[in-house]
Symmetry: C2
Subunit: 330 residues, 2 copies
């Protein structure tokens, strides 16, 4: 756009006139001319995304939608629900048919999936659990600082018998939480007990319930639990409630995600994931990629965000006597 020096008054008058005449530029015509649909595609992590069973993918979807609005885009979800007609590359067909300007992928299942999109010259951003084999811009959340802070907090509050409830996911991201946990234990000279690490197949309340059950059955009971997902924590709390084990009086609990941790009973201390920022950065990255002329693209950027601990009412400070007692017991 050229320099366009216009007095403030003139500017006002023009805008007033425009409003009076009811003129507003037509975004559709603009889109046609610019050869841009202003629509982004979104491929969710899994198909059955419900607010309370899969809180992270769900909230990510919501934040992405908001971020899109802020950046002037629309977004269409390419779940297999919407694309289930033909074979596997139906997803690509769906997105191509919608003429999307770019695609956001949440934790794609395979590198192939990503590759197919790139083959069609579609700008792509991967989130949360990227396929590192394919070089694209990506946004991840570093689990280490938050997890470390959480376990350190438990230790500070006098806990030495700390259990871990997580999942046996294959992606590095899933392993990092456990590794951070183990690292803090080591730092404080605490022994990692096999029976106090419970890995379930997936994040779900039912699995949390089962994990809590197994943990409570161990000969010696931990004094604190680190649960790597809010919905796992729901199951844990439901089980403890049935057994009349009170939190934090009998057992302290910290969860990961901090999505509805504050709305549980009792409100849980939790590691907050910045999903809103993550969504925002993803759209920024994608928008930048789309704007970039086909000339030459820079090296794909990888954004890593950090977490932080939110303290609530689910961790109790152990008295000196209790700490001593435990020390003797082991």
């Amino acid at each position: 756009m050229s320099t366009m020096r216009v007095s403030q008054e003139t500017r006002e008058r023009i805008l007033d006139a425009a409003r009076e005449l009811g003129y507003t530029p037509n975004p559709v015509a603009r889109a046609l001319r610019r050869q841009r649909s202003n629509v982004l595609g979104f491929v969710p992590r899994s198909d059955r995304i419900t607010p309370y069973d899969s809180p992270v993918p769900f909230l990510l979807t919501v934040h992405l939608a908001h971020a899109c609005i802020r950046h002037g885009y629309h977004i269409v979800e390419a779940s297999t629900e919407s694309t289930s007609r033909h074979g596997e590359d139906d997803l690509v067909q769906f997105l191509l048919g919608r003429h999307v300007d770019g695609v956001v992928l949440d934790s794609p299942d395979s590198a192939q999936e990503v590759a197919r999109l790139i083959d069609h010259r579609l700008p792509v951003v991967q989130m949360i659990r990227p396929q590192h084999a394919i070089k694209t811009p990506s946004v991840m959340v570093d689990a280490v600082p938050g997890t470390t802070e959480a376990i350190e907090h438990l230790v500070e509050m006098g806990h030495r018998h700390i259990a871990f409830i997580g999942t046996s996911g294959q992606h590095p991201v899933d392993r990092l939480r456990l590794e951070a946990f183990e690292h803090v234990l080591e730092t404080h000279g605490l022994r990692r007990r096999e029976e106090w690490v419970v890995l379930e197949s997936t994040y779900s309340a039912a699995n949390g319930y089962a994990a809590a059950n197994r943990l409570i059955e161990t000969p010696e009971r931990p004094t604190a639990l680190f649960v790597t997902g809010d919905n796992l924590a729901v199951g844990v709390l439901q089980h403890l409630y049935e057994r009349n084990i009170r939190v934090p009086e009998h057992l302290s609990v910290i969860s990961y995600d901090d999505i509805f941790a504050g709305h549980l009973v009792p409100p849980l201390t939790s590691v907050n994931q910045p999903l809103n920022d993550a969504a925002d950065r993803a759209i920024e990255l994608l928008a930048a990629d789309i704007e970039t002329p086909p000339g030459q693209h820079e090296q794909p950027q990888s954004v890593v965000l950090s977490t932080h601990l939110v303290t609530r009412a689910s961790v109790r400070r152990l008295s000196m006597k209790e700490q001593a007692h435990i020390a003797v017991a082991r």
Copy 2:
């Protein structure tokens, strides 16, 4: 479109060729030609809509987004966050600028707000708490059958001392739950006690907490609670937990909404609102309105959906002895 008699084989070949050449019709060009943006506007009930503080408006938003995709529309949210620049009719300017084909309003604050949109010939659908003064298509949820079923359930389980926690909203919809409650009490010859009806200003966990506190302080304690919102129930449960009053052993609880009732501790029996259906119907109504040529529109349709009770683990059956004891006590 004319009759277009084409053999099955030809059809196949054409589609194959189309795919091979990578041709897909361009939705933007189609939209321009048809003079339709395929975008709907959505005016949420309030501005600060978060998943767990305002579950109903939030989930409605999400379901509306899905319904839009199913019907081939995009949706833009016209929160004051996106429109906050000038005065009050900024909202209309925003929607006009986006060239939306129609608008969904969740519980509009004033009749004026609706009227202004209609003045601009925008098709409008009102949801949940419509301004009846303006005749538009609308979708509501009838609170009576579900509430009635809930209170009947409590009575069947032997409860005769039932309290009500609600809000003092002005809209008929807010009053209906209380009226249905009172009606069932009357049917069973149970007395309505003033101190067992607590009305808070808004639906929030904090208010639920306060309401539970007030209710527990009453000289005679009810044996069951009907709470007219899941987030109110969150506060109620948090308070009861602090007081070590167990649900349902010491006190039975039923909530309204059934959004995260099943994910609370303990899982709550709850009155389910069909928000998904409501969203779907709203978009259907709006789409039909948009398709209707300017010739003549029919009488605006008003859709009323019903609720149903979902039974979980928060209601205890009172024994005969307990019932007798209570009967004597009063």
